[in-house]
Subunit: 351 residues, 2 copies
Amino acid sequence: MRKTATLADIAASVGVTPMTVSRVVNESGYVHADTRQKVLRVMQEMNYRRNGLARGLKRQRTETIGLVVGDVANPFAAEVIRGVREVLTARGYTMFVCVSDQSVKEEAEAFESLADHRVDGMIVATRASRKGNAHLMTLLDANLPVVALGRDFNHPHTDFVSADHFKGGCDATEHLIELGHRRIGFIGIKQSYGAGLKRFQGYLETLRKHGIKVNEDIIVGRRKGTDQAPGYSTEEIGYEGMKYLLGLRKPPSAVFARNDFTALGAISAIKQIGRRVPQDVAIVGFDDVPLASHTSPPLTTVFQPTHEQGRIAAEFLLRRIEAVQNLPRAERVLPCKLIIRESTVSGTEST
Amino acid sequence: MRKTATLADIAASVGVTPMTVSRVVNESGYVHADTRQKVLRVMQEMNYRRNGLARGLKRQRTETIGLVVGDVANPFAAEVIRGVREVLTARGYTMFVCVSDQSVKEEAEAFESLADHRVDGMIVATRASRKGNAHLMTLLDANLPVVALGRDFNHPHTDFVSADHFKGGCDATEHLIELGHRRIGFIGIKQSYGAGLKRFQGYLETLRKHGIKVNEDIIVGRRKGTDQAPGYSTEEIGYEGMKYLLGLRKPPSAVFARNDFTALGAISAIKQIGRRVPQDVAIVGFDDVPLASHTSPPLTTVFQPTHEQGRIAAEFLLRRIEAVQNLPRAERVLPCKLIIRESTVSGTEST
DNA sequence: CTGTTAGCGCTTTCAT
DNA sequence: ATGAAAGCGCTAACAG
């Protein structure tokens, strides 16, 4: 079973050589109009499908690229995928997405699979890790073009695209301080794990800058550290985290949440015990997911240009793939933007 | 540039034939321990990566499968992906995800790419369409194993997995009727487009069953029909749709939203004008996204076993791939479950 | 335990 | 405008 017609089959049936059929398939070189017609007809009849394996093997490129993401359930990943895809399909490339489920092991397997199947390049948008980076390094030895998106990876022959999460974190915190808050909590990561989380570092840095002592008691991550590398922070974490903060003797008057979902969970927790946002607790999120402007109260958050990051990553990658020489590293850090809504500044309406 | 070591390179360097190196790489056949060590060392040194194209070409299978989804921004897709992946990786297969962005054209390109690159099978979880189905048919002629997930596709050599959306839609509507509602709106699709949307058909059917006349005025889709095949319905559509319904002379007393995001948007709209859920308008969603239990009020919705659908689809596919004969069609429709929360029945708390 | 042969399906290069 | 030859990198099948 599973017998697919090959160029040779078509050729035999038409009475030409495989080379002629190849010319028809690829629309390259001269083929007599009559021959072409005959070939096309037989191709149709035999339901010909070209063999990308053989083709790629011979041509030494597949016109495919791999995109590795840690997770797919959040708007960030979805928008990155769309951005990358737009650019790639326009240029005739096919994108294969691999999902690592935030596991370093699965991430490594994705790298290997993609490399084995000879994608022409790879965009890596997983969370950075020591082991993951080491793996990437070995692939680079094989001269595979790679672009890192929204994650650290330093290599002279790798491009880098990200939003300025650090600055975004600063702006969000600055905003709360300007509103008079001094006791500002953070939900989404424990301090000991936060070294790689730029937006959290921005929070810490801004507090310090204003002479506000960092208070570990009001920095909360997920309850139990079940997995080593915390993935995307959820509304559940926001809800639980806020519950905890509200139970303290002196709860914070404002909270910066790691992302919008976490922020929404926090708002739920606040409203559930009959407190008000922002009067009792002000909340800032991060990402500006579509939902953020439709919640009550609408969420103050930091917008990051996700789609654009995807597009630029794809462009960087194609440039690198199509380059004759090994290109020097390109870096691009896009600005974030604080969007002030009613979860920090009470406006016309508030629940 | 981009010169990767081949089996032949390793073999030459060690002083054996490529076949011996192949045996080491694949851990097949006998190789002397010393030889193996030497080969392994050189492989490491030369950073060997096997060529999946050559391998697949020779072996006539790639141990990869393709998963085509329309969209990736919603929890449904994310969970399907996780379910499929779990089963596949456990069995040594690699999964490549292609995203069609709800476009029939992109979907067709995904099919072709995957078929060209000789995936061993395909799981199709896009929205069904006439053209899309026709395309799938041609692939089946090439004997490519295919499983349809959550979308119609009738073919004797294709498996089918879905949740019982129709029954779910009935249950949701029944619930509202039991609560005394007679004027029940629907947000998420216009009646003229709803033929393929089972949960909507369940709504219509249940109204009829109870002798409630279907009222087109309170069935709303997206404002302007920009795209022919409406994709995933968003909170924005819910918000706008509800705004419209609230502006009617006689607004519905209950609304069944196409999915949870739409439902949440609707709730926002209701609260924004100072009305209450469920006292003024009761809302039911569909899907039971994680957020649903954390909203205020918590959302009554219909749970569908998404993860399980992914797992079963993957199992069906592997069975088909590894079968010697062409298997008959397998079908599996999983039950949904109505989850009653406070957006239909006022409990202890309500905003 | 290792090697030889052949060929998977395609395209590059050179001929005609 | 078409064909012949060779080989991309790998492995199945059969020696030895």
